[in-house]
């Protein structure tokens, strides 16, 4: 969903640029709580992996493809503030080095792929973690559902931006329906990749998964109570 230069007009691009800059500034503050000596290298690797995974377009039918966005994945692995920074670094490198996603559209892409997918993916994940059984095995399925919802959410926000600042007058209802339809299918791919990657990390090193920490702490408590009784 990398937006190229030219889709959105200058005022809209400036506005998304301001929102993106403010979100990155907030995330630089917020991520201090998530990053320490152990999790900082993890965050670097998550950003690197998301960059690599975004190169893999998978077919979704009718001559169309999609690739992982990675917002929900990064949020669950390293925390939402750090995830915004991870995705922002990915998008800057893609835009400047690979010409993937426009440069004037960088703010738009950070909003869509760096903020919307992270925020929606994380909120859905936390809500599910609250209602699902308090087991570490629930982290990957909850992350997958967050991922699934995050992709059409980004498609919805793109359509909203396009309705405000699109450079070509088109049938917006048709764009909305098509964007939501295709990105729900792409969201299924996002869910599968996110679920598999989170499950692998949880299996290898659950302590390195930000979203699993409250559950690990709870497990620890239960074990201790078990010993005393």
């Amino acid at each position: 969903m990398h937006v190229p230069d030219g889709f959105l007009d200058a005022p809209t691009s400036v506005a998304t640029g301001v929102v993106a800059a403010a979100a990155v500034a907030l995330s630089l503050r917020g991520s201090r709580r998530e990053l320490d000596d152990r999790t900082a290298p993890m965050a670097g690797l998550v950003a690197t992996f998301v960059f690599a995974a975004q190169m893999i377009n998978f077919p979704v039918g009718a001559g169309t493809s999609g690739h992982l966005m990675g917002g929900a994945l990064a949020a669950v692995l390293v925390g939402p503030w750090t995830a915004v920074l991870c995705l922002s670094v990915v998008l800057v490198v893609q835009s400047l080095l690979m010409a993937d996603g426009g440069i004037t559209a960088l703010g738009t892409n950070i909003v869509l792929i760096g903020i919307v997918t992270v925020a929606v993916g994380w909120v859905v994940f936390v809500a599910l973690r609250r209602v699902l059984p308090k087991r570490v095995g629930m982290v990957a399925p909850a992350a997958a559902v967050g991922a699934l919802v995050s992709v059409p959410a980004a498609a919805l926000v793109f359509t909203a931006l396009f309705s405000v600042g699109g450079n070509v007058p088109v049938d917006l209802d048709a764009v909305l329906v098509a964007m939501l339809g295709w990105h729900t299918v792409i969201g299924l791919g996002e869910a599968v990749v996110t679920g598999l990657v989170v499950a692998s990390v949880v299996a290898a090193r659950p302590d390195l998964v930000h979203g699993a920490r409250p559950l690990l702490a709870e497990r620890e408590l239960e074990l201790r109570t078990g010993i005393t009784t």
């Binding site: 960059f51 190169m55 893999i56 169309t64 920074l85 010409a99 440069i103 793109f158 764009v175 964007m179």
Partner: protein, 110 residues
């Protein structure tokens, strides 16, 4: 699994995905591009100012073999990502209490 080993595996997977598997990725337009074409606004896309980058479109300029050209671009991208993000997150992270004020401890030593 030790932390060191885990990070090594994660890096290796990233290198293989970007350097090898990327060759087999679908070349079809992505969801947004497809919708833009159908709805009739794809023509408003402009070439990025970075379109002349030697790694534009994940191909290394000057290399004809698509497998090598794309694979090298992916590997370079992974290395750039690792360096940039590692430096950023090291700067942002919370320091252990005893090295929180390195400047001050230097002063006290002096």
């Amino acid at each position: 699994m030790s932390t060191r080993r885990f990070f090594a595996v994660a890096l290796l997977v990233s290198l293989l995905v970007a350097g090898v598997a990327s060759y087999y990725a679908s070349a079809h337009p992505d969801g947004l591009e497809h919708v833009a074409e159908q709805a009739g606004f794809l023509h408003s896309a402009k070439d990025s100012a970075a379109a002349d980058s030697p790694l534009a479109d994940y191909q290394t300029s000057g290399l004809d073999d698509a497998r090598i050209s794309g694979g090298l671009a992916g590997v370079i991208g992974v290395v750039v990502m690792l360096v940039l993000s590692t430096v950023l997150f090291r700067l942002v992270r919370r320091r252990a209490p005893d090295d929180a004020h390195p400047a001050r401890s230097h002063e006290s030593e002096a």
